[in-house]
């Protein structure tokens, strides 16, 4: 299990497989500096919770069929407000979670269209 600490002091304990979807965290795990949990100074608890929700769903093999996953993604992204979306983009960029970044950027692009 890996412990993530948000900028506002919340801690989240998640399975390694879930956390490894973030390339940033994956590198930290490789470099073996996750002893006392990983502090994420750029991400608040609220946003981190959303990210973990996304990553849990997208853990390989656990998400269901591709179609179902797409529907879930659509639900996920359409139910968040603009400021959460904005922060999610920054966090997905910081944590280097490509699929989440694609999803959020595409959402903004669709909103502009």
């Amino acid at each position: 299990m890996i412990v993530l600490k948000s900028s506002d002091g919340e801690t989240f304990e998640i399975e390694e497989a879930v956390a490894l979807q973030s390339q940033t965290i994956a590198h930290m795990v490789e470099d073996d500096c996750v002893e006392n949990g990983i502090p994420l100074a750029n991400v608040t608890g609220e946003i981190l919770a959303k990210i973990i929700e996304y990553c849990k769903k997208h853990v390989e093999g656990g998400g269901g069929s591709e179609e179902e996953l797409k529907i879930w993604d659509k639900e996920f992204i359409e139910n968040i407000d603009q400021s959460t979306l904005f922060n999610l983009i920054l966090a997905a960029n910081y944590l280097n979670i490509k699929t989440l970044l694609d999803l959020t950027c595409q959402r903004v692009a669709d909103m502009i269209s």
Binding site: Q82, A109, S113
Partner: protein, 374 residues
């Protein structure tokens, strides 16, 4: 969920207003506003690029492409990024901003346009065709009006269909013909390269004082010539058209910088300014039609884009083309095709190295009487 331009700006700026409001009060709110870290308009450039690139990808054609223009209106940063994306090589030839009208057209296919003529007002309207139909409206690009003054005729080309004054911001360029209507000069309102001097003329001096930014030289800059030649055959044969244009080379090749490689041509002032900025000349001539014995007429294959026979119809190919690696034009590829499809409706298909503005100017030369040619 479509967002109109004002709605988008208002929504995005409302986030920044919340920032400022939060920072005024307690420390807790200060932290919160710091965490908001600025509004959409100051988002990280690479993330903005991701977002705007996606908008650009999906909104390929007009009228949806308006959304790309909207992105450029949000803030300075958005504008920079949008312009970078729009002018990148993979988006070559797509028309987004008015400035795209002076950039070269697509490389591998032609942009299809329509020209509508209003005989009463001597005005011509250029539209980007949005559907294959000749009767659909299309996206308005440029308008031109013919003015006959004394010994010559001018077509003023403008971004605004109601404003043809050379001093306005909408002024794009003009076409001037001699009395016979066989020799034309194309003028651009903007300098084709650094250090270009405007041609002398009463009009340049007149509207220089109305300029908003004095740093940009006002005036008309010669960027091309078109001439129609005598038809030597007695029968009503097609006229010969030759055009020399300064085209911005989409991918300037270093090998074309030596003037010694150029074919010797008729002397024009432009020859001496060749390649100072990597833009060279393109020489175009019209593709000769073939005489069809059975139909007893001259035929050119317009691929369905021209449906009414007219002496105005033409296809231009390049003999000298700086966008080609050798500088020599491929005399088969039709770079500009113009032809009649209705009483006052014409199609115009153009591609690199011609820009929409140049193509329009070339087509305008086909209107009007050619006293010595027919």
């Amino acid at each position: 969920m479509p967002l109109s331009r004002s709605l988008l700006s208002r929504r995005l700026s409302s986030i920044s207003f919340r920032d400022q409001g939060g920072a005024e009060t307690t420390t807790e709110s200060k932290t919160e506003s710091r965490e908001m870290s600025g509004s959409w308009s100051s988002m990280l450039p690479e993330l903005l690029t991701e977002i705007i690139r996606r908008v650009e990808d999906t909104e390929d054609q007009w009228p949806q492409r308006r959304d790309v223009v909207t992105c450029a209106c949000v803030s300075k940063k958005w504008r920079e990024i949008t312009q970078e994306i729009v002018t990148s090589p993979c988006n070559f030839g797509k028309i987004t901003f008015p400035s795209c009208l002076k950039l070269a057209g697509p490389r591998d296919f032609s942009n299809q346009c329509l020209i509508k003529r209003n005989k009463k007002t001597s005005t011509f309207y250029l539209y980007l065709a949005l559907t294959p139909s000749f009767t659909d409206k299309g996206k308005f690009l440029l308008a031109a009006r013919r003015f006959r003054t004394g010994a010559y005729t001018e077509y003023i080309i403008s971004l605004d269909a109601d404003d043809f004054s050379q001093g306005s911001n909408a002024y794009v360029g003009k076409l001037r013909s001699d009395f016979l209507g066989t020799n034309f000069t194309v003028y651009d309102s903007q300098p084709p390269h650094n250090g270009a001097k405007p041609s002398n003329g009463k009009s340049s001096r007149r509207f220089a004082s109305k300029q908003i930014s004095p740093q940009v030289p006002a005036g008309n800059f010669e960027v091309g010539h078109v001439s129609y030649k005598f038809n030597l055959l007695k029968s009503r044969g097609p006229r010969r058209m030759v055009s020399t244009l300064r085209c911005a080379s989409p991918s300037p090749s270093p090998s074309s910088s030596s003037s010694a490689d150029q074919k010797p041509l008729d002397v024009t002032k432009m020859m001496k300014k060749l390649n100072k900025d990597g833009s060279g000349f393109t020489i175009l001539k019209n593709k000769a039609p073939r005489w069809h014995e059975q139909l007893q007429c001259w035929c050119l294959n317009f691929h369905g884009r021209v449906t009414v026979a007219s002496v105005k119809n033409f296809q231009l190919v390049a003999t000298i083309d700086q966008s080609q690696p050798s500088g020599k034009g491929d005399e088969e590829t039709v770079l500009l095709q113009f032809g009649k499809v209705g009483d006052d409706t014409f199609t115009m298909d153009y591609r690199q190295p011609l820009s929409a503005f140049q193509a329009f100017a070339l087509c305008l030369t086909s209107f009007g009487t050619k006293l010595a040619c027919e």
